[in-house]
Symmetry: C2
């Protein structure tokens, strides 16, 4: 499994299964290097069913599949990783539940959270929101300079997340950011394949 | 661990942690033989925190603790069991995730669901709703005769659930039911200790 965080797709909630599969496959063909399945209000049964199908799809393309929050579903479908936020199970508890080969990512928005995540064995951190976002309503935009401070405080990979669009990608170019997570910029694109290609080009030309 | 399903308390959602602990302890002192922690809209973090504290409490009284739906939280707190509904992870997937010593219960409302649960290794089934209930809004009352048919169709323990109150306990007395699950009848009682005692007396005098 290639651990390439460059263009990390986070799915949107409650997208019907077939449509979800269609978007993710197009996005992978367009260059997405990692996929996180995120469902917050869906039943465990439907979440699991989507995870099973994304597991099959992502394995076919050798793209890592990460499950948001639900460690049990990550284990049940043999996902490549699990991603937790500050309101999910504590990192230490998650690390005890999963095999050491399983990636564990943590969402952080402060230097302290970033350092704690690295200290407790996170494989990477998601840092945001770097821009205003509608995909995650409770996500606050980072105060000026915070992303830079977090970049300086840890050595594990950092994925910038939150409201990243083709139009604002350039605004991240001064920063030492090599990976971005995209939600609506791909999930709601008319052509997810072309959207993913544009993001990849944007990342290469920085 | 005693596997006694006689008076099985299912907690209500979103009860503040300290109050929850207080009610459950009083109910155990009053005779509750098993406790299921059920949270549907709470964050994983708060669910986990409640589970940790209930784990400590129930162990002190040697009463089994069951976690609803979240297999990861059940594993993380070393609960005695996990309880799944028809919209949760499939039983077969759950069985693969948990140690064989962990109880797995399944909610059913038809003969087919009951037989399937037993076939796939459920330790017990919860059958309901036996009466109209406000605690679980999507729970439909069983059609007449269904509870009897389910009782006749499986050999694993059966816990009747749904709207069971002191006042309607007698209505179950013609049936071969030795275990009841109570939610609001204890959780919303002025005196959870006395409520639990009354239920236990009602069960003994049947």
């Amino acid at each position: 499994m290639k651990r390439d965080y460059t263009l990390y797709l986070v799915t949107e909630e409650s997208v019907p299964e077939d449509r979800l599969l269609h978007i993710v496959e197009a996005a992978i063909k367009g260059g997405v290097t990692m996929v996180q399945l995120r469902e917050k209000s869906t039943s465990s049964k439907l979440f699991f069913q989507k995870a099973i199908r994304l597991r099959e799809l992502t394995r076919r393309y050798d793209v890592p599949l990460i499950i948001n929050d639900r460690v049990d579903i990550a284990l049940a479908v043999e996902a490549d990783g699990v991603h937790i936020g500050q309101s999910d199970l504590p990192l230490a508890a998650v690390r005890r539940l999963v095999p050491s080969s399983m990636l564990v990512g943590v969402s952080v928005s402060t230097v302290e959270q970033a350092k704690t995540a690295q200290h407790h064995g996170a494989d990477y951190i998601g840092v945001g929101a770097v821009f205003p976002t509608q995909s995650k309503k409770d996500a606050k935009v980072l105060p000026p300079g915070m992303l830079e401070q977090i970049i300086d405080s840890v050595t594990i990979p950092i994925v910038a997340i939150g409201g990243i669009k083709i139009e604002n990608l350039a605004a991240l170019s001064q920063l030492d950011i090599t990976s971005i997570a995209v939600v609506s910029g791909i999930m709601q694109a008319d052509e997810p394949y072309h959207a993913a290609r544009s993001f990849m080009e944007g990342m290469r030309n920085r």
